[in-house]
Symmetry: C2
């Protein structure tokens, strides 16, 4: 493992010259921060446009044969403004003129939208005094669209071996025929993860505009704490239950290489952010922390099918699962009673095929009595890797909900033992999350 720290900065961190200054301070405060991956410029204020959105719009204009110079000029001017404010030399106008000359109806959408990262990279490299490494020359795809890890890692390693700091634009790479291709999901996050894995970085720092992954949705809980340390498995549970975190795919390279991933805040670099790893040694200072985070989703339906002595008639359950599978309705949980079982699935996905499913159930399953459907269930996951070894966790959880008169409709402890799922009525959803947060975090 090298000493390198790979730092990826998101769009809001590159929105204007002032943000560039913050990045420079961050990079210069630690000489190991020698590989920087950048996004396109993001919004400077809430009504502002993201550069990438504008470039997609340009492409739509081209497709319909409508001139797009105005929009392209807006993009160019954003970058020129940053350059001028920072006193840089980069010939943005010349680059844009060359680009505009090549534009036509068949211009590659991938190449066009990748220019946001490209120009961010050019400016940042000059500003930091680092070498600019075009992603088209170091991130390679195979013809079926998968990242060619071997070639990519070799190219990035080769460039970093020259000993100078590197700036690499995120979000794109090139196909074997040399054409630019953008990433389908995760954008620049995956570029940063590839760079970190390539050089065997000591840490992959993912700089954004919040001080880490939050323990609960800030729209529900006021000023929730950031999670200090989280495993990939916990992150997956939280993401599945609705928490907005990194795309799993995008962090696979660092996960595979067991490189710590640190979510940091460009606007508050003193905050330690969230550290993500596959496994943590127990840490004394966190030992009284019961849970890692809380996440939840609304609008599930509970479909209850009655069959006397169901344990002896599992074929009915099997047939029911087959029917749900046929209509591609995912089953989140299964709850068994003596004479019934319940399938829990997202209401929207069930509602689409409700009548087909009920008709198939009546045809294929020898049920006792009618199918019961209850809507309006919310599922809330309390996630924590230390939960299974803490006898008190479920007690605290249920006491808190009970004391606040929130009725628990269903309970599941996941088979991987890192989360407890409670089902409450939709009307209690936000209150339940607030109560759990208060109980576990305070």
């Amino acid at each position: 493992m090298s000493m390198s720290k790979v730092c990826k900065f998101g769009g809001s961190s590159l929105a204007d010259a002032n943000q560039y200054r913050k990045i420079k301070a961050i990079i210069e405060s630690d000489p190991n921060r020698n590989i920087v991956v950048v996004s396109a410029a993001g919004k400077r204020f809430s009504d502002d446009h993201k550069i990438t959105d504008l470039l997609y719009l340009c492409h739509a204009h081209l497709t319909y044969g409508v001139p797009c110079s105005d929009i392209l000029n807006t993009v160019r001017d954003r970058y020129c403004q940053i350059r001028d404010e920072l006193g840089l030399q980069c010939d943005i106008e010349g680059e844009f003129a060359k680009l505009e000359a090549r534009l036509n109806k068949n211009f590659s959408v991938d190449e066009l939208v990748s220019r946001g990262e490209y120009f961010s990279g050019l400016l940042m490299a000059e500003y930091l005094g680092f070498a600019f490494l075009d992603a088209a020359k170091c991130v390679f795809f195979t013809m079926d669209g998968q990242v060619d890890l071997e070639r990519t890692y070799a190219a990035i390693r080769g460039a970093s071996a020259l000993g100078r700091g590197l700036v690499i634009p995120g979000f794109y790479g090139s196909l074997p025929n040399g054409k630019v291709k953008v990433m389908s999901r995760g954008g620049s996050d995956i570029s940063g993860a590839l760079a970190a894995a390539a050089v065997g970085a000591s840490v992959y720092e993912n700089w954004t505009d919040v001080s880490g992954i939050l323990m609960a949705d800030p729209r529900i809980v006021k000023n929730p704490n950031a999670i200090p340390r989280v495993t990939y498995q916990e992150l997956r549970e939280l993401a599945f239950m609705g928490a907005s975190v990194l795309h799993e795919e995008s962090i696979q390279p660092v996960k595979d290489a067991n490189i710590p991933l640190n979510i940091r805040n460009t606007n508050a670099p003193q905050d330690p952010g969230t550290m993500i790893l596959s496994h943590f040694e127990e840490n004394a200072e966190e030992s009284d922390r019961f849970i890692t985070g809380i996440a939840g989703r609304r609008d599930f339906s509970v479909i209850t099918i009655h069959k006397r002595n169901i344990a002896a008639h599992v074929d009915v359950l099997r047939r029911a699962l087959k029917i749900f599978d046929t209509y591609k309705v995912s089953i989140e949980q299964i709850s068994m009673g003596l004479d019934s079982f319940s399938l829990i699935c997202a209401s929207a996905s069930f509602a689409e095929f409700q009548f087909d499913i009920l008709s198939d159930l009546n045809r294929d399953c020898k049920m006792d009595g009618d199918v019961d459907i209850t809507e309006g269930l919310s599922l809330i996951a309390s996630v924590g890797r230390k939960m299974s070894s803490r006898p008190g966790t479920s007690a605290k959880l249920f006491t808190a909900l009970g004391d606040n008169h929130i009725n628990i409709r269903t309970i599941f402890q996941s088979s991987d033992e890192i989360s407890i799922l409670v089902g409450v009525e939709n009307k209690d959803f936000e209150e339940a999350i607030r109560v759990l947060y208060q109980e576990f975090v305070g």
Copy 2:
């Protein structure tokens, strides 16, 4: 509904003359107790023999051509002793002589073992001054062994219309060809239930040697309270989880007729016992009672199958269920995680086919990684019809277990919402039941 109370007495209530006196006092204390159903004489002390067991032994002697006079005399002497102590006239010796004369290798086992109830009935009828109604003349089976409810109800109604109290031997009836047939399960309990349903009794009193159904296993909890009121559904949950209660089949006639079933103690007739009904109106005095009873079973295995994003691959779960079904291994519960699911089944039943099941799983399910098997799980059900409307129940339950350092391995709230199932390690089984009893009952 008539005013009749149908009273069924179990074997221990008919073990000796003193027990007969208790029965007489019970019957005479309430003139509505006018139909009595009796079992064969049970044990008087722990090493004593049940009359029915002795009669089965007689039949085995006949089958192998070994004389059985000694055993038959033991049976006869038990009944003669009761008769003599109570000063009754019944010609027990003459009846036994006639029976013995008919015995041979092909004598019907059903008729022979039914004589225990027959003689109990003869003696009890004389002692109470009631009419003796031979079950062969009022409980009828169809040729396929099912009770012929229409004929049975008509015969019992006809006899009771004569206005005298009735004593009916339990446990047997007759086939359309007149031959005696005994009941396969539930014994005299079903005879009593049939009589109660026939006359539309106001209550079916089932007299035994405990003051009702106990809230927990008395081998684990010292002197547990009796359950005052329980629904059939709760009873089913408790029975399924190991509580020793009435056979469900045996109480179907009174359940169908919505006749209250009252479990009483012949040795403590002042105790109200347990009242069983399909549904109870809320009762102020019980309103702070959270649960109805606690029951549990040891030795379950948890079979965990890994499959990434299982919600989108329910076919793996379906295939696994099919394999378990093939080997007739009942699934008690299913627990789903994001990347795995667990099937919980009785260890004994799983162990028998473990290698076949694992081999089939490897063949049919595209699993990620190996199957995990954890043994030594106990399941404990806390059952209560009011549980779902009490937000505090699960909190109390988990707090009690947590405070006593009992680690909860799995949690299930049944889909019928009348029980919460917790999985603990076998070593914590008894302690967990005691803790829950202490918490909920005190």
